[in-house]
Every structure is written in structure tokens, then in C-alpha cells.
């Protein structure tokens, strides 16, 4: 195997297993192999996908952000309340993005300037955002606004299936994320920082600004995910996104990105998202399991997936 190909081996292995997974589900469940299911994979996982893209960038630097789920919740209820009070949706959206980005920038700045552990700082961010969300309102609030309705009703027709706003957004964000991570200096700098921050400094890379930007973008993407969640449901809910951060981290890591930083791929995140979604959809199609068996089976499927991924990679490494 050529080195270039070997570097892509994790991705190829993940993709291969995803195909097997999907094919198995399609074989088992009638109606699974359809464009709708594929579109739903994107639209139902849009919030997770958008958050995962930002999380990938942060994890590239060897950092982590636990606040994203709470930011989604905050933005969701913030947007709903502000629109209800009559502010124009565009303005509210911009404000939400600014809040998300601002929180990210603040956390990033603290983490970098004072060498604080990202885990704790973003945990504090999570508590702040969730507290803020409940402070705005402890109840979910419906939105009835022509713009919001138009957005949530919109579908880009593609033959037999239509791509709704949510799916379009996540696909767009994934594409942008891919370009940013793999075709810009910024993205490469992030990976370098995660590889070894000291080395990155010695190599003359702009470590501080890159790190802060990673958290800023991640915060803004979490806010965007919050907007998407609001459009998806046509309502704001302060408890949206509970536990989302863990799902996002799992998606990123399943995609082969190293949590310690320095190694990873945005396409892996896409694959991780699809694996996650496929497992859940397959279980919904099945519909026979009890609450607890669903958990157990999800866990075991994840385990199987990871062991297969490992096995394939080891095989590839041995037979080079």
C-alpha cells in the first residue's frame, strides 16, 4: 500500500463498515433502502452534524468543548423568545451566532492565555449556557413567524426526494468544514497544534490565534445548530441538546479523529455521523426492542463497529 493510501486507511475502513451496516439494515428492514431514509439521516442528525464539525476542529487542537449542547439549548430558547417579542428573525439569528461565537472566543482565550484545562472551562461554559437558557424560560416556546415557517417548510426538490433546510445546512457546513480543515492553512495549523503545541510554536505557527478561532468557530457553529434545531421543530426549548456534546465527541472519535489531537479527518466526522444515524434509524425500523434493549444493542453495535474498524486497520498495517 502506498503511504498516501495508508494514511487514508482509517477512513476507508470506516466507510467500508458503514456500507456493510447500511446494507445489512436494508436487507433486514423493508423500505430502509430509500432516498428518504438517506435524506432523513441528514435532516434528523443536522444539529448533531453541525456541532460535530465544530467539535472536530477543536479536537484537532487537542482541546474539547463540552458547552456545545447547552449553547444549542440557549440559542433555541433565545431565538424563540426574541422572535415572539417581535424582533426580526435575521437580527435574532445574527445575535445568536454572535453570542455563540463570543462564548467560544471567551473560553478559547481563557484556555490559551492562562493555560487552563479545556475540559473544565467548557464545562463552566456548559453550566453558564444551560443556566442562562432556563433563566430565559423553563418551558418550550412555539414560534409562529412567516420567515421561520418558510424556512422550516422549505425543501430543495431532488427528483423523488426533497432536501429540507436542515439537511441543506448540515451538508453545507460539512463541506465548508472539510475545506477549512484540509484545504486551508488555518485547518492545518489546528492539526499541528494538536500534534504538539510546543513544536507548533517552534515552527512559528500562530498558535494562540488559531486556538481561539477554533473555539470561536465551534461556538458559532453550536449557535447555528441551535438555530437549525429551532427551525427543525418550529419552537424554542431550553433543554434541547442535553448530552449532545458527548454524542458529538463520539461521532468525531468514531470517525477516526484522535481525541488527543493532531490526527483526524473531517470526512471521518461525516462517516461517524452516518454510522450513528444509521444505527439509530435501523433500531427505529425494527421497533421491537424495549428501552433497555435499545441501549444495550446500540452499545454493542458501536462496539462491533469499533472492533471491526480496529481489526481492519491492524490487518492493513500488518500487510503493508
Amino acid at each position: 500500500m502506498s503511504p498516501a493510501l495508508r494514511r487514508q486507511a482509517p477512513l476507508l475502513a470506516t466507510a467500508g463498515i458503514l456500507v456493510i451496516l447500511f446494507a445489512t439494515a436494508a436487507f433486514l428492514y423493508e423500505g430502509f433502502f430509500s432516498g428518504r431514509v438517506v435524506v432523513n439521516l441528514f435532516s434528523d442528525n443536522a444539529v448533531l452534524g453541525i456541532v460535530a464539525v465544530g467539535m472536530t476542529l477543536v479536537i484537532f487542537t487537542g482541546g474539547i468543548d463540552l458547552s456545545v449542547g447547552a449553547v444549542v439549548g440557549f440559542v433555541s430558547i433565545f431565538t424563540a423568545i426574541m422572535i415572539q417579542r417581535g424582533y426580526p428573525p435575521a437580527l435574532v439569528a445574527v445575535a445568536a451566532l454572535a453570542i455563540g461565537g463570543g462564548l467560544g472566543a471567551g473560553m478559547g482565550a481563557l484556555i490559551h492565555a492562562f493555560r487552563l484545562p479545556a475540559f473544565l472551562i467548557t464545562l463552566a461554559g456548559m453550566f453558564l449556557a444551560r443556566g442562562g437558557a432556563f433563566w430565559i424560560s423553563t418551558e418550550s416556546v412555539g414560534i409562529d413567524h412567516p420567515v421561520a415557517n418558510a424556512l422550516s417548510g422549505f425543501e430543495l426538490g431532488l427528483g423523488p426526494v426533497g432536501l429540507p433546510t436542515t439537511a441543506l445546512t448540515v451538508i453545507g457546513v460539512l463541506a465548508l468544514g472539510y475545506v477549512a480543515a484540509h484545504h486551508t492553512r488555518f485547518g492545518r495549523n489546528l492539526l499541528a497544534i494538536g500534534g504538539n503545541e510546543n513544536s507548533a510554536v517552534l515552527m512559528g505557527l500562530p498558535v494562540g490565534s488559531a486556538k481561539v478561532w477554533a473555539y470561536t468557530i465551534n461556538g458559532a457553529l453550536a449557535a447555528l445548530a441551535g438555530l437549525v434545531a429551532t427551525i427543525y421543530t418550529g419552537s424554542g426549548n431550553p433543554s434541547t441538546g442535553l448530552g449532545l456534546e458527548l454524542d458529538a465527541i463520539a461521532v468525531v472519535v468514531i470517525g477516526g479523529t484522535l481525541l488527543a489531537g493532531g490526527r483526524g479527518h473531517m470526512l471521518g466526522t461525516l462517516l461517524g455521523l452516518l454510522v450513528f444515524g444509521t444505527i439509530q434509524t435501523a433500531l427505529l425500523f425494527d421497533g421491537r426492542l424495549s428501552s433497555w434493549w435499545i441501549r444495550i444493542v446500540v452499545g454493542l453495535l458501536l462496539l462491533l463497529f469499533i472492533l471491526l474498524q480496529r481489526g481492519l486497520l491492524r490487518g492493513a498495517a500488518r500487510g503493508k
Binding site: L110, F119, A124, L128, F134
Partner: protein, 330 residues
């Protein structure tokens, strides 16, 4: 004076704890009052210790896992599974010994599974333990059929509620574990081995350490701690609530460890720091009940506390603050 010998990192969470207690005292002078009721010590500090005991036990195991550069997300679910199994066995009429052994056995098994995945298959700890986090909760619910199983065994309840000479048993147990662990880790080479693996695993392996074995073992210990914490939690409320027991406890445990001065990247660990960290967290929770902070915004003071302790701990932040003060005087 050697300025480089800076304050031990244990001091910062301790200062945080002192501040928190001071705030409480200012608002409620009776905060630290302890009385004797029915031959038991009774008062808020006792509650803090009693309710914090589980967190302490979890933090102990988590410290070792984090010291090797790993993390264990499954502890909350393992707690639930251990508590559930013990409760179900008791409900079926088995004795105390069976229930305790089974609960700890669940922890052991879970730890071994995590250790196997991390140390043997080289799977990233966060994913490896995430699997058990999901499966463990499911298994707990499966055991109890999704219901709350009530425990009527008084001997078992002692684990969570008993007193020894008036002093609550659970925190005594936790403290004893900490002391034993500290002695074992620092008197034998085990502490060094764990730190070596966390600091540079490859180098540790090259020096002849069974790095995989060390890593596997810390997960087993962490699993055992989680199992014990599960038993304590079930005993404390005399019931196993498979859905809610141990929920979010993994985050709390990690929080306690990191606030206590052990870096998530592994290497040097501070058992005493984790102890204080866990205590700090429980004090904060109780403080919030005590001050009547509305539940919806209760996370906010938590955030503030984290920030304060973090900033105190950071040498960079302290230096910056000093320069600000000096700059201000000019």
C-alpha cells in the same frame, strides 16, 4: 527563598472550599453546626460528607484512570448496574454477602471490559468507556425491568446510612479507601508506574513496564470503585433507581479530579486534590439547596466556582493578576 517551590496545587481547591464555607457561614451562621441526635452526629457538614461519599469513591478510581491519560465515562452506568443487581438479589431473598459481592463483581467486570478495550485493543478511552456507559445503563434497567427496586435489608442499608460511634459509615469508608490507596500507591512503586504510563507510555514500555497491564488495572480499580459507589447509592436511599442512579456522576468525578490538580493529559496525580475536589463539589450542591438558588439557574454558581478555582490554579492567571495590580498602582 526559592520561589520555584510554589504552593502545592492542592491548596487551590482547598482555598475554593474555604471560600465556599465562608460564604455559607456568612449567610447562615449555623452552617457548620453539628449536634448529636439519637446517638448520631447530625448537621449539614455530616450531610455533605454522607452525600459526598459516593463522589469521593468515584473520584478515587477516576484519578488513577486519568493519571494514565485515560478517562472513564461509564462509572455512572456501572453504579446503576451494580446497585440494581444488588437490589434485585436482595429482593429475591439473597443475603447481604451475595448482594455486596455481586455489586462489586459488576464493577470488576465492567472495569475489566473497559481495560480490555483500552489497553488490549488500543481503543480511545472515551469511546471504549462510552460503550459501557450506554450498555451499562441498559443492563441496569433490564435487571430491574425499568422499575425502582426497593431494598428492605437493614444490614445492606448500613453501607449507605449506617453510623460507627455516631459517625456516618459511608464517608468513613471513603476516607479509609483514600488513605489505603495513598499508602499503597506511594509506598509501593504502583504510583510511579501509573504516572510513568501517563507521562510517556512508549518510554514506560521501553523501560520494561507492562504498560498495558497498568492501564488495564486502573480501569478495573475504577470499575470496582464505581461498583462500590453504586452499592452506597442504593443503600443510601434503600432503593435502586436504574434510570437515574449515577446520572452525570462521571462528569462530577472528572470534575473533582481535574479541579484537584490532576491533568487530563495524564502523568502526575494528586489523590488528596481529588478528595478535596469531590468535597468541594458536594459542598457546592448543598450550598445551593441551603441558599435557595432557584433550580433553573443552579448551574451558574457551579460555573463560577469552576472558573475561580481554575484561575487560582493557573500560574499564568496569577502572574497576570499580579501584573494588573502592580500596573494599577503606578
Amino acid at each position: 527563598m526559592s520561589k520555584s517551590k510554589s504552593l502545592s496545587p492542592v491548596w487551590w481547591p482547598l482555598i475554593g472550599l474555604a471560600v465556599l464555607v465562608a460564604v455559607n457561614l456568612a449567610l447562615n451562621p449555623a452552617f457548620l453546626n453539628v449536634t448529636v441526635l439519637d446517638g448520631r452526629l447530625y448537621g449539614l457538614p455530616i450531610d455533605i460528607l454522607n452525600q459526598g461519599a459516593r463522589g469521593l469513591v468515584l473520584a478515587l478510581g477516576m484519578t488513577l484512570v486519568i493519571a494514565t491519560g485515560g478517562v472513564d465515562l461509564s462509572v455512572g452506568s456501572v453504579m446503576a448496574a451494580a446497585g440494581a443487581l444488588a437490589a434485585v438479589l436482595l429482593a429475591e431473598g439473597h443475603g447481604l454477602a451475595v448482594a455486596l459481592t455481586a455489586g462489586l463483581g459488576v464493577g470488576l467486570l465492567a472495569g475489566a471490559a473497559n481495560g480490555l478495550l483500552v489497553a488490549r485493543f488500543g481503543i480511545q478511552p472515551i469511546v471504549a468507556t462510552l460503550i459501557l456507559m450506554v450498555v451499562g445503563r441498559g443492563a441496569a434497567q433490564l435487571m430491574t425491568n425499568g422499575e425502582v427496586v426497593v431494598i428492605k435489608n437493614d444490614a445492606f442499608a448500613f453501607v449507605g446510612n449506617g453510623t460507627v460511634f455516631g459517625f456516618p459509615f459511608a464517608p468513613l469508608l471513603a476516607i479509609a479507601l483514600f488513605v489505603a490507596a495513598q499508602l499503597f500507591l506511594r509506598r509501593t512503586a504502583s504510583g510511579l508506574f501509573i504516572e510513568a504510563v501517563g507521562d510517556n507510555e512508549t518510554a514506560a514500555r521501553f523501560a520494561g513496564l507492562g504498560a498495558a497491564r497498568v492501564k488495564g488495572l486502573v480501569y478495573v480499580i475504577c470499575g470496582l470503585c464505581a461498583g462500590l459507589a453504586g452499592l452506597m447509592a442504593a443503600a443510601n436511599i434503600r432503593a435502586a433507581d436504574s434510570y437515574r442512579m449515577g446520572e452525570n456522576m462521571e462528569l462530577d468525578a472528572i470534575f473533582a479530579v481535574v479541579v484537584g490538580g490532576t491533568a487530563l493529559t495524564g502523568g502526575r496525580f494528586l489523590l488528596l486534590g481529588s478528595f478535596i475536589g469531590a468535597l468541594l463539589l458536594q459542598t457546592l450542591t448543598t450550598t445551593m439547596y441551603n441558599l435557595g438558588v432557584p433550580p433553573a439557574v443552579a448551574p451558574v454558581p457551579k460555573a463560577v466556582l469552576i472558573l475561580v478555582v481554575c484561575l487560582l490554579q493557573s500560574e499564568h492567571a496569577r502572574r497576570w493578576a499580579v501584573s494588573l495590580v502592580k500596573g494599577g498602582k503606578k
